[in-house]
């Protein structure tokens, strides 16, 4: 086994996914198969190869520090399920 049910539970919690009992079993099996497939890559010798962070061979895309118009409070809040005054409203967050 490359992944345990406990790890799947942990990842589900981090992703805020509420998985049913049966789903946990299914996903553990599927993820294990995926990891087994990806494991094939370990057969390659990657000594001396710099880890790839990006698939496109590009670097340094910049923007000048010049203000551009924002979209406005009402547009910003247009898709919000709930708002109060000019704020998004979310369930109470206790600090």
């Amino acid at each position: 086994m490359r992944i345990t049910r406990k790890e799947v539970e942990h990842v589900a919690l981090l992703a805020r996914l509420n998985l049913a009992e049966g789903e946990l079993e299914t996903f553990t099996g599927q993820m294990d198969a995926i990891l087994a497939y990806v494991d094939k890559l370990n057969e390659l010798d990657t000594d001396g190869i710099v880890p790839t962070s990006h698939a496109v061979p590009m670097e340094n895309a910049f923007r000048a520090d010049e203000v551009r118009p924002s979209i406005g409070t009402d547009n910003a809040l247009a898709n919000a399920p709930d708002r109060i005054e000019a704020f998004f409203r979310v369930p109470k967050v206790i600090e």
Binding site: H10, L13, L14, R16, S53, H54, A55, V56, M58, E59, N60, A61, F62, R63, A64, D65, E66, V67, R68, S70, I71, G72, T73, A76, L77, D82, I84, E85, A86, F87, F88, R89, V90, P91, K92, V93, I94, E95
Partner: protein
């Protein structure tokens, strides 16, 4: 048992750019909630971030000033967690390849110098702001304002080299002075432009194995940092002495009680699953870019401090006062550039100028007397045209109504009288009118000398050259 505290600091420096780190929205403080937002900083699907070049410039400056190595290649990474102030579900930060590493800062506490290592400096975006009260009709919810989301930050991480709260404060003050000098941060701690998280642990004295640490978040004044660290050290020692164990956790400083308390609920998410952000291409910084940035940097406070002492001959104290802020040092140097003598200019800037600013609640940048005019005033003293005392009158006039010192001296007839004949005449009159005191002086009561000086100066309306008055008066009184 004796305990040795071990402290490391993470400082978040908000950069003084016009726009956010990955979009063109304004970073102005205090605007209407959510008015400075766009698809990028709202985290709308499909929106793509583009890096603000100035943020990189500023990060290089910070790196050079805390002599770090500037990475020729660095990468942005996603730090994944859920919180309502983080619209994308991840914060764009740097992880494995930060822009600066391996620097240090030299501090001094009670005359003892110490070098504090800087592990790394990386660029990242700030989160939004949560509001829990003061919104009419908020009810049992929290308000989210995303104006601050995507504001550029530098996170500056120290090595765990700090051993006392005083060292921590000295380190922070020095770092604060540097970033403000560099012009990359406004330094406003109340508005959160410079904030600190303190990692604290304790271990038995003599041990080389660090204890479990706690992280106290967002302490936003130097005084609070000292309180928070001292309290945390005490608390941890108490827990250990009572046979307990320190839990690795995030704690919040409460300024009202001066204590820290556990922030439960943020603990389950400490698995950030960093990975390179595919939306942002790698950042490659050439040696030319680094050198060009170095050329454009102002003289750092530490270098200035040393130069004021060695080149200008100022005392350590004077040099510290004058280099405390960059605008004050610029004012002082403006005076020198206009020909003022270093010591005299130092005295005037720290004396009359500072007093005037304090009395009127002004900043040095708003000083009504330009440094070049102060230099002209000092030149008049040097030439003996006016006395130091009269110069203060002229200075007040310049402060109130502007104008140049030579004109004021001429218009008000304040030119110092050094002509011995004229002064002798005054002295004779005063002595004639105060024979009683003359006798007293001659009878050995030398204290009356001051009375005569005062009378002569008054009769000359303060214009008599004090040196000449002293000499002549003494000669005449001794008869």
């Amino acid at each position: 048992m004796k305990y040795q505290p071990v402290i490391g600091l993470e400082v978040h420096v908000q950069l003084k750019t016009n726009t956010k780190i990955f979009c063109g929205c304004s970073t102005q403080f205090g605007s209407e909630p959510n008015s400075q937002t766009c698809p990028v900083c709202l985290g709308l699907p499909g929106a793509l971030p583009v890096l603000n070049e100035k943020v990189v410039d500023y990060a290089i400056r910070a790196g050079l000033a805390t002599p770090c190595q500037i990475a020729p290649r660095s990468v942005f990474a996603r730090k994944n967690y859920f919180y309502p102030d983080l619209p994308k579900g991840y914060q764009i930060s740097q992880y494995e390849l930060p822009i600066c590493e391996h620097g240090h800062l030299d501090i001094e506490v009670d005359g003892v110098g110490k070098r504090i290592g800087i592990t790394r400096i990386h660029m990242e975006e700030d989160a939004g702001k949560l509001v829990h009260s003061d919104i009419p009709g908020l009810g049992s919810g929290s308000g989210v304002d995303l104006n601050r989301a995507c504001t550029p930050l530098l996170e500056i991480v120290s090595e765990p080299d700090i051993r006392t709260a005083d060292e921590a404060v000295a380190y922070l003050k020095k770092l604060h002075q540097i970033v403000v000098y560099l012009g990359i941060c406004d330094g406003n701690m109340e508005e959160g432009s410079f904030r600190c998280d303190a990692n604290v642990s304790v271990m038995p004295v003599g041990s080389d194995k660090f204890g479990t640490r706690t992280e106290t978040k967002n302490v936003n004044s130097f005084r609070f940092v000292k309180q928070a660290i001292e309290h945390e050290i005490e608390r941890q020692i108490e827990v250990i002495e009572e046979g307990g164990k320190i839990v690795q956790e995030t704690r919040l400083f409460d300024p009202d009680s001066g204590t820290t308390r556990s922030m439960r609920g943020k603990e389950d998410a400490h698995d950030y699953r960093y990975f390179p952000d595919p939306d942002l291409v790698p950042l490659v910084i050439s040696q030319d870019w680094v050198e060009a940035t170095r050329q454009g940097m102002p003289e750092l406070p530490e270098v200035k401090l040393a130069r004021y002492q060695s080149e200008l001959g100022l005392s350590l104290y004077d040099a510290e006062v004058l280099t405390a802020t960059r605008p004050l040092a610029a004012y002082y140097e403006g005076g020198l550039a206009a020909g003022a003598q270093p010591k005299a200019a130092a005295n005037w800037v720290m004396g009359e100028v500072t007093r005037g600013l304090n009395d009127n609640g002004l900043e040095i940048a708003d000083c009504p007397v330009a440094p070049a005019l102060l230099a002209e005033l000092l030149a008049l003293i040097d030439k003996g045209t006016i006395s130091n005392k009269i110069a203060k009158t002229v200075f007040d006039e310049m402060w109130q109504n502007g104008g140049n010192p030579a004109d004021i001296v001429a218009a008000k007839g304040l030119v110092q009288v050094s002509d011995t004949g004229e002064i002798e005449k005054i002295i004779d009159e005063i002595m004639a009118a105060n024979m009683g005191q003359v006798e007293e002086f001659r009878g050995g009561k030398e204290k009356v000398f001051g009375f005569f000086v005062g009378q002569v100066m008054r009769a000359s309306k303060g214009k008599a050259n004090p040196g000449v008055v002293n000499d002549l008066l003494l000669a005449k009184l001794k008869g």
